[in-house]
């Protein structure tokens, strides 16, 4: 299997005064061209760190990141500069990720200038106008400053900036969670349209499960730095295997007032990611936890074709006979 992006055993640790913080611990996955991989999990589970490590905004502690087959775990400065043309990021907060002292035009043109794509002023203006049209920003905003625009328009600037270099791969770190609900739908639709037009590949990081269901092909569920479940979007919502995923899905309030509610209420909160003890990280909150869970780390195993889960008791929890693989 060779996808556009392959991540193998990626680790990102931070040294803190209280010990080593395992932000991302042994994460592996691959993403195909044109696909959207959703990354879900609660705050503090390491999903943003994962996104930033993949495009080398943070240096990985260990592991392998292959982009188009090329190992980029430790690229030279020059090579990284070249690679960044193809991988971009859209940040969560359109209020703090845009320079308040630059106009919309300057912000969108900046990557073009850095990569010396066009030094000709007229060509640059034309490209900025094109990009603004692509993301649905009216041309009259070209000389405004970010603070003059609403959140939805600002996020469009962030998207236009990310698209400026025609990347093939974009990490979207909670791109709609800072937006008003009515604007969310517009931005999500825009991102889907752009993906179709430009054959983009997304890693879509979010804590909002209804958004991720909507936009992703495949999903990985993270808990305290580790991946606990990995499968297609449809499969995850119809047949979750990991106890954490089950609890997460059942916690979402349903707007269908006639739906039968069978809620698994998790006790407690995320434990600390600093120097985690061996064993399943979810064991303390898991209703199915057995002794084995606090002894060794569960490995990712393919329970059904294309559906992986990391749980010692996955068969017992889901009443699957042991032979069936």
């Amino acid at each position: 299997m060779s996808g556009l992006l392959e991540v193998k055993n990626l680790k990102k640790y931070y040294e803190t005064n209280r010990g080593t913080l395992h932000a991302v611990d042994d994460v592996s996955f691959s993403v195909e061209q044109g696909e959207t991989l959703g990354v879900v999990g609660e705050s503090g589970c390491g999903k943003s760190t994962l996104g930033q490590t993949i495009i080398h905004l943070r240096k990985p502690t260990e592991g392998e990141i292959r982009f188009r087959g090329e190992d980029m775990s430790n690229p030279s400065k020059k090579r990284l500069h070249e690679l960044r043309r193809h991988m971009q990021i859209i940040f969560q907060d359109p209020f703090s990720s845009l320079n308040p002292r630059m106009t919309v035009k300057q912000i969108i043109a900046e990557p073009l200038k850095i990569y010396k794509i066009s030094n000709d002023k007229a060509a640059l203006d034309k490209r900025v106008a094109e990009l603004m049209e692509t993301v649905g920003l009216a041309n009259r905003f070209v000389n405004t400053y970010p603070h003059e625009l609403d959140g939805g328009r600002r996020q469009r600037i962030g998207i236009a900036r990310a698209l400026a270099l025609e990347p093939s791969f974009i990490v979207c770190d909670e791109p709609v969670s800072a937006l008003d609900v009515s604007i969310q739908a517009q931005v999500l639709n825009l991102m889907q349209d752009l993906q179709e037009q430009l054959n983009l590949t997304y890693i879509f990081i979010t804590h909002d499960l209804s958004v991720v269901k909507h936009i992703s092909n495949n999903i990985i569920v993270m808990y305290l730095g580790v991946v606990v479940e990995k499968c297609s979007s449809g499969e995850l919502f119809s047949n979750p295997l990991h106890p954490y995923t089950k609890a997460l899905l059942s916690a979402i309030p349903h707007s269908d007032i006639d739906a039968v509610k069978d809620r698994i209420l998790l006790k407690g909160e995320l434990s600390s990611p600093i120097d985690p003890t061996p064993g399943c990280r979810f064991a303390k909150r898991c209703i199915y936890a057995t002794e084995a869970c606090s002894v060794s780390n569960p490995k990712m195993e393919e329970v059904y074709s294309g559906h992986m889960a990391a749980c010692h008791n996955v068969r017992e929890v889901n009443t699957i006979p042991h032979a069936a693989v």
Binding site: E42, S43, D180, V181, S182, I183, Q184, A185, Q186, L188, N189, Q192, H207, D208, L209, S210, V211, K213, H214, F237, A247, L248, L249, S250, A251, I252, P253, H254, S255, D256, I257, A259, K261, R263, L265, L266, E269, L270
Partner: protein, 343 residues
């Protein structure tokens, strides 16, 4: 409680709130009327800027003045008009009879006071009790919201987001209020924590028989907590009814697209359908129906008349000309009278 269950516990009548700014008058709340029964949960739903929070602050008489001003209306709680109360009287009511939970638990707690002291402070403000008695009660409240009483002396920064919101709930419920106003109480929390907090709120609401006014844009939260729902648009209530009426028998042309524009876990759609256009500028509202510019089922007469809320059956109120009877009455009176704006 004085009133019996059949009497209306909270009545808001023709409330109008404006913000008078240098750039003109912002009409935040335009002539809304609402009623709540004892023990009922009412949800206010709508986009940002629809006037939900302003309505809530109006009930507490906490509209920042200037620039905000309550122009007209009555807010009757238990037979008493809150808008006629003096500042001191309102201070006694806030925190004892009416409490509020704000959206962001990170900023609504005092960072340099222990959580226990923040709870007992409310108790001592509203009840004549000794310091130690207040402390005991505060410890009880902590236990009720699921925090061990040993954490009385901890500071807010030592708690996680969900725990802080529990502390806020403990403060709000410490004096057994009759009305609890919740402004997006769980939007800042993760889903598993949200489920815990909502569960706690439900239990305490039943235990204290508190009425709740819930402000949220999460339709899932609405569906799981509310008895009645009011949909707000541009400072007006465009649809009001029981949960079932509004969710299953949606009538207003704004409510359906609002529901459709939100990603929903229980729906299988490939594309969201956002409502076209933007909410009207509240400092320059049209004289006609405020949804006219975005409405897909508008008719010519909608540009001329500002419809009145109208009962389509069993107390289900819809503010739209397109409900048949309203149109008929319009046709009867059209030409003879200018559409009047009730003040």
């Amino acid at each position: 409680m004085k009133n019996n269950d059949t009497a209306k516990f909270l009545q808001i009548k023709n409330l109008i709130i404006h913000y008078e700014t240098g750039n003109g008058v912002v009409e935040a709340v335009n002539n809304i009327s609402l009623e709540m029964n004892c023990g009922e949960t009412l949800s206010l739903v709508g986009e940002t800027g629809a006037g939900k929070t302003t309505t809530a602050l109006g009930i507490l008489n906490l509209i920042p003045n200037p620039p905000g001003r309550i122009i007209a209306g009555e807010i009757v709680l238990d037979g008493e008009d809150l808008l006629k109360k003096s500042t001191q009287q309102m201070q006694r009511i806030r925190g004892s009879k009416i409490s509020m939970i704000f959206q962001d638990p990170m900023t609504s707690l005092n960072p340099i006071e222990t959580v226990g002291e923040q709870i007992s402070e409310v108790i001592r403000l509203h009840n004549k009790v000794s310091r130690s008695e207040a402390e005991t009660r505060a410890c009880n409240m902590l236990e009720k919201v699921g925090i061990p009483a040993e954490r009385y002396m901890d500071f807010p920064h030592q708690f996680s987001g969900g725990m802080k919101q529990r502390v806020v709930i403990a403060i709000a419920l410490a004096c057994g209020p009759e009305l609890l106003i919740c402004d997006e109480p769980t939007s800042a929390l993760d889903v598993t924590i949200q489920a815990q907090v909502l569960d706690t709120m439900r239990q305490l609401k039943d235990e204290f028989r508190t009425s709740m006014l819930m402000i949220t844009h999460d339709l899932g939260v609405v569906a799981e907590t509310s008895d009645n729902v009011a949909v707000m648009y541009a400072g007006e209530i465009v649809e009001y009814g029981t949960l079932r009426q509004v969710f299953k028998d949606t009538r207003h042309p704004y409510t359906r697209p609002l529901f459709d524009s939100l990603p929903d876990i229980s729906k299988n759609v490939n594309r969201l359908s956002p409502i076209k256009g933007l909410t009207p500028d509240p400092s320059n509202l049209p004289a006609c129906c405020s949804f006219y510019s975005r409405c897909t089922s508008r008719e010519d007469q909608c540009a001329q008349i500002d419809p009145q809320p109208h009962d389509v059956g069993d107390g289900h109120l819809v503010k739209c000309l397109l409900s048949a009877e309203e149109r008929r009455s319009y046709e009867r009176t059209s030409g003879s009278k200018e559409p009047q704006k009730v003040l």
